[in-house]
């Protein structure tokens, strides 16, 4: 920056000294003034007078052009595509004996090419170069010998499934490493889920799991754990090699997470930010309840974090979690409840495993891991992957010992009985034609059966006011998606009021 200012100043300096230097130079240079210099001085004075009269700078070059007999000097305006060199020759300049440089000092034209826009083929080439350079940077400075990431996601068909699963899908599509996505679906494999995840282009293992997802959150958590264990069983059967992480479909993952988990040896833990926010309740966010925090009242809005706790030498000494006891009464009980959904003590999402723990030969495996078949049998509630270990102190803390939060846990669901169009396609178009109460939109097509879709949308505004006395509240804690779900949910209700206006 200094150089820039210096350069600018240099230019300003040369301006201020251009006028000042000529008297200096004239005293320095020669006591004898040749007639040519006197002539140019006179011309200079004349031009100054003309400029004063005209009001803009009148260039001495014009005189040069007038008096010169050189052929066709074209203008040096900015938009000329032809190269121009008009050397400003100082009279009395001695030609140099050595090789004449091709580079001429003086005023040159500003070259502009006729078609100014970038060529799209070249832009694509530039992007390819950028991509390749970044790939090289990653291989040089990033993770060396990256391992395959195996993401296990339990899901089931419901209103918010598309929303959540699209988020996870896009996160996984952006991961630079090889990826295997194991989608475990409660209630068996369905076309709904399959068509959604097919678009990702990832390597997917779509597995079904018997059992319908229950309505109570408690039971749902338990079923999800079972589904994840089922996913681990798939990893073992197929002997997939890589790093297993648990990507719940409503969680948010940062791309740095996928680079950080490459550092795991056997089993690691990351910190999970818990976003337990209820849309409608007045109680606001959860507070991090801990011994030291009770005094600090101003930290009320801190996001609670679950993860490994380390001592000063970065060894694992315990776990950060938070006490959910005070909130249990107010927490959500069933899916679609308007209350906060609480996580369990330690969520599955915060753990990553080396897949070899599951299927490696007994000799090569560490002694502290249990067989996957033993875990989860006899109705044992597997709350977290720690149940897989006999000794929990071997867990490696990742993300600078849990200080860096790279993923967030959230549970947001609509009511279990809420309806939504299959695959979010309204097909066939519904044939309800309800005339709009308002003036139709200026560019609305005339009333035709095929345009019933727009009419249906317009109807929503009418039925809004009567929404209050309609069906019971739906949980609308997702702020952004409020609008679309509301429209379509209201639409469902309006079908019952087909006769009304």
């Amino acid at each position: 920056m200094k150089q820039l200012t210096a350069l600018q100043q240099q230019n300003r300096r040369s301006n201020s000294f251009r006028n000042g230097s000529s008297p200096l130079d004239s005293t320095v240079d020669g006591a004898i003034k040749s007639p040519a210099t006197i002539f140019w001085l006179v011309i200079h004075g004349l031009c100054c007078l003309i400029s004063l009269v005209l009001g803009f700078r009148f260039s001495r070059l014009v005189f040069f052009l007038f008096f010169s007999t050189s052929s066709s000097p074209s203008t040096t305006t900015i938009y000329s595509p032809i190269q121009e060199t008009l050397p400003f020759s100082i009279p009395g300049r001695v030609p140099v004996e050595r090789n004449m440089s091709r580079v001429v000092v003086g005023r040159h034209g500003i070259l502009i090419r006729p078609w100014p826009h970038p060529d799209p083929v070249e832009v694509m080439k530039a992007h390819k170069i950028i991509e390749r350079v970044q790939m090289e940077q990653r291989s040089e400075y990033g993770v060396k010998s990256p391992r395959t990431v195996i993401a296990i996601t339990p899901t089931y068909v419901r209103t918010f499934q598309t929303l959540h699963l699209t988020g996870v899908m896009h996160s996984l599509m952006n991961v630079h490493h090889d990826l295997v996505w194991i989608v475990v679906e409660a209630g068996g494999v369905t076309n709904e889920t399959a068509s959604l995840i097919r678009k990702s282009g990832l390597r997917i293992l779509h597995v079904g799991f018997d059992g319908k997802m229950p309505v109570l959150w408690e039971d749902r958590h338990k079923l999800e754990s079972k589904m994840r264990l089922h996913g681990l069983r798939v990893v073992k059967e197929q002997r997939l090699d890589g790093i297993v992480m648990f990507a719940d479909d409503s969680n948010m993952h940062s791309l740095e997470l996928f680079d950080e988990i490459q550092n795991v040896r056997w089993i690691g833990a990351v910190s999970v930010g818990i976003l337990a926010h209820s849309g409608g309740s007045e109680d606001g966010e959860l507070q991090m309840v801990g011994g030291e925090d009770s005094e600090k009242e101003e930290k009320k809005s801190q996001v609670p974090v679950q993860g490994p706790a380390c001592n000063s030498s970065n060894h694992l000494v315990g776990w950060h979690t938070f006490n959910t006891q005070p909130f249990l009464e107010r927490s959500a009980r069933y899916i679609g409840d308007r209350a906060i959904v609480l996580p369990r003590k330690l969520e599955w999402a915060g753990f990553v495993l080396n897949s070899r723990l599951l299927w490696e030969e007994r000799l090569n495996r560490p002694v502290w891991v249990r067989e996957i078949e033993e875990v989860g049998t006899d109705g044992e509630d597997v709350e977290s992957p720690l149940s897989l270990l006999k000794d929990t102190s071997v867990v490696e803390p990742l993300g600078s010992c849990g200080r860096k939060i790279m993923l967030w846990w959230l549970r947001v669901e609509a009511r279990a009985d809420s309806k939504f169009p299959a695959r979010w396609i309204i097909d066939p178009p519904l044939d309800i034609t309800v005339p709009a109460k308002r003036t139709p939109w200026p560019d609305a097509p005339p009333e035709l059966p095929s345009s019933s879709v727009e009419k249906v949308i317009i109807t929503q505004e009418n039925t809004e006011k009567r929404a209050t006395k309609n069906t019971p509240r739906k949980k609308r804690s997702s702020r952004k998606r409020k609008h679309t779900t509301k429209v379509l949910d209201e639409h469902i209700t309006s079908t019952k009021h087909s006769g009304d206006n």
Partner: protein, 416 residues
């Protein structure tokens, strides 16, 4: 030793040695060795290959000037001061002038600063002349060769022509008394009056600590294709355009201001250094003079320099193979800059980045305090050592005079 003797005749024939890929160094980062036309000279150690005698001039030539204006230590011409300080404590210095190969005269000719911080070159010729008169009368070594085994640092815009305006600098030419001496300067352009044969071009001074303090993690992806910050039109001195940078900078602006691949503007962002580290190509066009500290910054930050200055001679051109490191674009080809840059094959781009990542390359562009091995001070000494042994013809017979002590503008002859 014998491969060197094989290489020397090859170098004389002008054949470049092919760069060998060094593979994995002791660093895990893959860099490439830089082999210029004379071999791996960047890592040569000058100690033991030459001896330099530093003349002790009265402090009015150096210390007093610096005391008057300490800004001289920060600007881009500070190399002359730091070279003096380096030589005073360097192992190549000898206190016995009879065994010296080179003689150094510490004159801070670029330290007469205007209030805005830029050096005024008007008194520099007189100062230099006065210094040479002093050393030629007090010691006999100048008269022995009329300065052919002396070297001077002249880092100003046009070197020893001592003027910032190119036309006036050309008119003055190199100071006649310095015609036989070796000039160590930042300016370099082929077939130009202000560049003597045998001069050593050096990079301008750029503050190393400031640049090191702005380093970002190397895995930050490089997402800017072309980067440039600076003036395109010099509205104060050249409002119509066409004079400044021979119209090249204006041409860059007019052609590429709307091109999304080009991040160019006249802004002064605080993240200038960080942005350079996120760019693949950094433009280094000429300004009023062909050289600029942008080249040094581009090399330090790993951004491939795109040099737009016809016939420019880059720093340490005999030691650093600039064609393999940077991209050279003729000024007349500026409107097609995007075509040129996008048609560079990706492997070539990666190779250039590997060459730039070589720490000896970065070190050679810097003037760190205190001096470290392989830095620009050592490269200057290497350059001087490569010119040894002196040709016997430089030694003049008793009473023989070659230089014209009264040549040049009349004002130069006034005492300082």
């Amino acid at each position: 030793m014998w491969p060197c003797y094989l290489l020397l005749p090859l170098a004389l024939l002008g054949i470049n040695v092919i760069i060998g890929v060094e593979g994995l160094d002791h660093h895990s980062v893959r860099t490439e060795r830089i082999s210029g036309s004379a071999g791996d000279v960047l890592e040569d150690n000058p100690v033991g290959r030459l001896k330099v005698y530093v003349y002790e001039l009265p402090s009015k030539y150096n210390k007093k000037i610096l005391q008057k204006d300490p800004r001289c230590l920060k600007h881009m011409f500070a190399a002359e001061i730091f070279m003096h300080q380096f030589l005073l404590s360097s192992p190549v210095r000898t206190l016995n002038p009879n065994e010296a190969d080179w003689f150094y005269t510490p004159v801070y000719s670029t330290c007469d600063l205007a209030p805005n911080g830029l050096p005024l070159p008007f008194k520099s010729p007189r100062m230099m002349r006065s210094a040479i008169q002093l050393i030629s009368t007090k010691w006999h070594f100048w008269n022995r060769t009329e300065g052919a085994d002396h070297f001077f640092l002249v880092p100003h815009d046009f070197g020893a022509c001592f003027h910032y305006q190119e036309e006036r600098a050309i008119k003055r030419g190199i100071l006649p008394l310095l015609q036989r001496a070796t000039l160590v300067q930042t300016f370099g352009q082929h077939n130009h009056v202000c560049l003597n044969e045998g001069s050593i071009t050096i990079p301008p001074y750029a503050p190393p600590e400031k640049m090191q303090s702005h380093l970002i993690p190397p895995d930050t992806p490089r997402s800017i294709f072309v980067y440039f910050r600076g003036l395109f039109y010099d509205v104060n001195n050249d409002p119509e355009g066409g004079y400044y940078a021979r119209g090249a900078r204006a041409s860059i602006w007019e052609n590429f201001k709307n091109n999304p691949l080009f991040d160019i503007s006249t802004d002064h962002p605080t993240t200038y250094y960080e942005d350079m580290q996120r760019a693949i190509f950094c433009l280094c066009p000429l300004g009023w003079a062909p050289w600029s500290p942008r080249l040094v910054e581009a090399v330090i930050f790993g951004c491939i320099p795109v040099i737009i200055a016809d016939d420019i001679v880059l720093p340490f051109a005999d030691a650093i193979p600039w064609e393999q490191i940077g991209v050279f674009v003729a000024e007349k080809d500026v409107p097609y800059l995007d075509t040129i840059l996008t048609s560079i094959p990706v492997e070539v781009v990666l190779k250039k980045q590997r060459l730039l990542a070589n720490p000896s390359m970065k070190q050679a562009m810097l003037f760190p305090q205190p001096a470290q091995s392989g830095d620009a001070f050592h490269q200057i000494l290497n350059g001087l050592a490569r010119k040894l042994p002196h040709d016997m013809r430089i030694y003049l017979k008793q009473g023989q005079k070659v230089l014209n002590w009264t040549a040049g503008p009349v004002g130069d002859l006034k005492p300082w």
